[in-house]
Amino acid sequence: TAVGLKVNDGIVLASERRLSYGGYVLSKQAKKVYKINKFLMAGAGIYGDLQTLTRIMNVEIKYYEVSTGKPISVHAAAKLLSVILYQYKVMPFISEILFGGVDEKGPQLYVLDPIGSLIEDNYAAVGSGARIAIGVLESEYDPNMSLDVATQLITKAIKASIERDITSGDGIDLAIIDKKGNYENKFIPY
């Protein structure tokens, strides 16, 4: 399960660390929240596909910036990921992805499906525990909440999914970018 939240003061992405093969816990240290360039990416699905996509995005963003000579916007980076996913439409990357960042337009959060649909949202949850996590966000989300309160809310949402979804567990990774672009990451054992 991965969750993303956008507030006026920045964005927060979070995920738990369990990698399941059916009912078997293959790993308890699978990090599913990545910092790519100055953006955050989190996801659920086939873990190898997620890793591959992060590597592709790292290279593509760098390529975009050296060839155009200017920094890439959040929307352009998200669209780039969407185009890559769509190119693999007949043999898709099995992944649901959250992509977020902060630029001159402010904080932005995007949700992508396996074949590259791109939708901007205030908050989103993907993966096996998404329906549990979204219930928590749905009842408490407010775009004016502080980044600290947003971090607490997202933690609460992931904790709920760990409690009720058996394929989620083993601790929480958090990544935060505030409106000035400062990056921070945290791990919460749970």
Partner: protein, 194 residues
Amino acid sequence: TTTVGIRVNDGVILAADRRASAGFFVANKMVRKVLYITDKIGITTAGSVADLQFIYDVLKNIYHYNSITKYGPISIKGIATRLANVLSATKYFPYIVQILIGGYDDQPRLFNLDYLGDITEENYVATGSGSPVAMGVLEDEYNPKMTLDEAADLAKRAVFSAIKRDSFTGTGVIVAKIHSKGHEELEFYLNKKM
């Protein structure tokens, strides 16, 4: 689910985790899977909850019906055999259950019953989705000379290992120590708040 049964000279240990899952959803976090027919006869349950609740009633009925007839209290092997007969008779429309029956009559006894009517007597056994994990611990550490308390600790560790690696097993464990005088129960939780 993971349940464990261990027989030693002083008695029998029955242990089970507390998670009830429906597919990949945690339906209940505090379910009881160690149940008693008498003070000195217990069972552990794994499988379909509805079937297990029905089978538990059947078991109590077998015990109490026998008690009020001229035959008197039934032995543990007797109950296990009677239940195996029920499961065997319904083989083609089976109750989805795996049950351990353990206890103390004039000696410690432990039986494993599967849903088709198989019955086997065991010194140590694990059932449920986490049984491969639990059995790894039991296989390495079981010793027939261990005390009842040592066996209780082993059962706890076996179920805890399964909680850590099998997602269908969770929350914590109830460990029942059954001996010639009755039973005592211990509870342990992975999350200390519980």
